[in-house]
Amino acid sequence: MTQALSPRFKNLLGLLILAVLLAVVLPLVLEPFRLNMVGKYLTYAFVAVGLVLCWGNAGILSLGQGVFFGLGGYAMAMYLKLQSSTPEATKIQSTPGIPDFMDWNQITQLPFFWVPFKSLPLSILAVVLVPSVFAFIISYAMFRRRVGGVYFAIITQALAAIMTILIVGQQGYTGGINGITDLRTLAGWDIRTDSAKTILYFVNVALLLGAIVLCQWVRGSKLGRILVAMRDKEDRVRFSGYDVASFKVFVFCLAAALAGVGGAMFTLQVGFMSPSFVGIVPSIEMVIYTAVGGRLSLLGAVYGTLLVNWAKTSFSESFPELWLFGLGALFIAVVLLFPNGLAGLYRSHVEPRIDALFGGKGRSGSRPAPAPAE
C-alpha cells in the first residue's frame, strides 16, 4: 500500500477539523445569540448521525426520528419543569407544586409518570432509555415480522403523527400544543443566561463528537460490516447464521438513543420543548439533513445539518412561506443529482486533489477489476 493518507488517519483528521470548527472557530466568530442558534442546530445533528448508521449503513429509513428526539427532549423538559414548579414559585395556583399547565387543566396531583423526573440522574437515564426502549418495542415488533423498506418508513411516519396528536391531546399531562415552557434551572443552575448557554453549547459539542466517535467505532466493528451486508443481501446474512432482526433492532435503538440525547440538549439550550419538534415535518427534515450531508458520512451529516439549518434560517427570515418548498426542492435535487450528498461531492472532487497533493495514489478500492478468469 503506497497511500499517502490511510482512511483511519483521514477519519481522525476529519473529526479534528470538525472539533476545531465547532469548539474554537465558531465560538470566536459568532455572538452568543448566533452561537446558541448553532447549538440548537447541532442538537439535530445527533439525529442525523444516528440516521447515517440506521439509514445509510443498514438501509433502514426512518421517517419518525422526531419521536425519539421529542422523547429525549420531553424527558429533560419534565425534569426542568418540575425544578421550576416548586411550591413557593407556584403558590398562586390552586394546587401549588405542580407544573402550571396541569393546574390550568384542573389536575390536582402530579401524574405517576412525572414522579421519576424529580431526580436528575433518573431524568438523564430517561433521556437515553425512554427513546431506546420505545424504539426497541416498535422495531422488534416490525423486524420480527420482516416488515422493512418503504413499509417501515411509512409506519415510522405514522408514529410521528400519532405522537404529535397524543401530546397535543393530553394537554393536562404534556402541556399540549404549547409544549413545556418556562424552564429555568438545572439542579439550581440558571440555564437562561448567556454564560450558561455558552457552557451548554460546549457540552453539546463534546457529546456530539462523542456520538460520532461511538458511531465510528460501531461502523468499524464487524457489526458495521454486517449492517452493510444486510443492506445489500439480507438473505445471505440470515443464511450465514445471523439473526438479522436483532441487528436491525440494535441499530434502530442506537439511532433512537442518540436522537434522545439531541432532544435533551435541545430543551436545555432552547429552553422549551413542544410537539412541533416531534411530528412528520421535523422528522422528514432530519432525514434531509442526512441526505444533504451524505447518508454514508458521519461528519457529512453534521455539515449537512448545519448547512440546511443555516439556509432555513436565512431563507425563512425573508420568505417564511416559501421555505418548505425550498426544502422539498433541495431534497429532490440531492437525490437526483448527488445521491451521496456533500460527502460524495467531497470524495469525488476534493479528496483526489488532496491525495495528489500528498503524492499518494487514489483509493485502492476504486481501481478497476483485473481481467476476469476465463
Binding site: S221, V228, A229, R231, D232, R236, S240, Y242, F250, P372
Partner: protein, 259 residues
C-alpha cells in the same frame, strides 16, 4: 461410503447413518403443491444432485430444508434434529449451509470481509461488536480464499469480481462456515467451460467430511460429480439412483432428458 439402496419404509427410529432425512415433505401455495409428499435421504459424505424440469420444485426443496419456506407438512431431520421448527439462523448454526442461485455476495465489501462475515464466531449483536480480526480468522480466510482461487483478490471489492468468481466467493463463504451439509443451487449456471471445470474440481476438494446437495441442469457436470441423482417432477420424485440408471429410465427421458 455406505452406498445403500433407498430404504423403503422409515419410521421415527432413524439410524444415525443418514445425515439428512426428508420425510413426507409437502408445501402448498394456495392449494398448489410445489412439493408433494417428498421423501429422500442423504448419507454422510454423499454428493446428491437434484435434477428436473423447470418448476419441478427443486429450489423449493432447498428452501424448505434451510427454513426459508415453511413446510405445510412433513419433517426434515438433520442429524436427528427436526429442522422445520427452527429459525433460519438456527438451522445454519446446526450445520446446514445454503448457496443461492444468483451469486449472493456483499458487493460493497471486500472479498476478505465477505468471507470474514461467514466466519462462525461473533454471530450475536454484542459478539459482532467485540469481534476481533485475529490470526485465526486471517489464516482461515486466506486458506479458503486460496481454495476458491481468489487468494490474490482478497482486498478487492466484491462487485468487481467476474460472475464466476462471485459464485466461487459465495461457495467460499459457505466453506468458512464449515457446514456438514452444503446445498448449492446451480453453482455453474452462467459459467464458461473453463470455470465449470474449475468449479467441479473445487467441489471435489470441498466435499471431504461433508455432504452436498446440488441442483444442476448441466448434465455433463452432473455426471462428473454426482454419487446419486434425484429426479424431481411436479413436486414428486420421478426417479432416484446412480446417474447411469437415472439416465436410462424411460420416465426421466420422457419428461426431462429427452428434450
Amino acid at each position: 461410503m455406505n452406498a445403500q439402496a433407498v430404504p423403503t419404509v422409515i419410521t421415527d427410529q432413524m439410524g444415525p447413518d443418514f445425515l439428512l432425512a426428508v420425510e413426507g415433505l409437502t408445501v402448498s401455495f394456495d392449494g398448489f403443491k410445489a412439493v408433494d409428499d417428498l421423501s429422500f435421504y442423504v448419507d454422510e459424505n454423499e454428493i446428491r444432485v437434484i435434477i428436473g424440469p423447470n418448476g419441478a420444485g427443486k429450489t423449493t426443496v432447498l428452501d424448505l430444508i434451510c427454513g426459508r419456506t415453511k413446510a405445510t407438512a412433513g419433517s426434515v431431520k438433520f442429524k436427528n434434529t427436526e429442522l422445520t421448527r427452527l429459525k433460519e439462523y438456527e438451522i445454519v448454526r446446526a450445520g446446514v449451509g445454503r448457496k443461492f442461485q444468483n451469486p449472493s455476495i456483499y458487493e460493497d465489501l471486500t472479498v476478505f470481509e465477505n468471507l470474514e462475515i461467514s466466519f462462525p464466531r461473533g454471530r450475536g449483536v454484542f459478539g459482532a461488536l467485540a469481534f476481533k480480526r485475529d490470526a485465526q480468522v486471517i489464516e482461515r480466510v486466506e486458506e479458503v480464499a486460496k481454495t476458491i482461487f481468489l487468494a490474490d483478490q482478497l482486498h478487492q471489492r466484491a462487485e468487481y469480481l467476474s460472475h464466476g468468481q462471485k459464485q466461487w466467493l459465495e461457495i467460499g463463504m459457505l466453506l468458512i462456515q464449515d457446514p456438514e451439509l452444503l446445498m448449492l443451487d446451480e453453482p455453474v449456471a452462467g459459467m464458461s467451460v473453463a470455470e465449470r471445470k474449475k468449479t467441479a474440481e473445487l467441489l471435489n476438494t470441498i466435499i471431504k467430511d461433508r455432504s452436498v446437495i446440488v441442483i444442476e441442469h448441466d448434465m455433463k457436470f452432473v455426471e462428473d460429480i454426482a454419487h446419486k441423482v434425484t429426479v424431481l417432477h411436479q413436486g414428486r420424485i420421478l426417479a432416484e439412483g446412480p446417474m447411469a440408471k437415472v439416465q436410462a429410465d424411460p420416465k426421466v427421458i420422457e419428461v426431462y432428458l429427452g428434450h
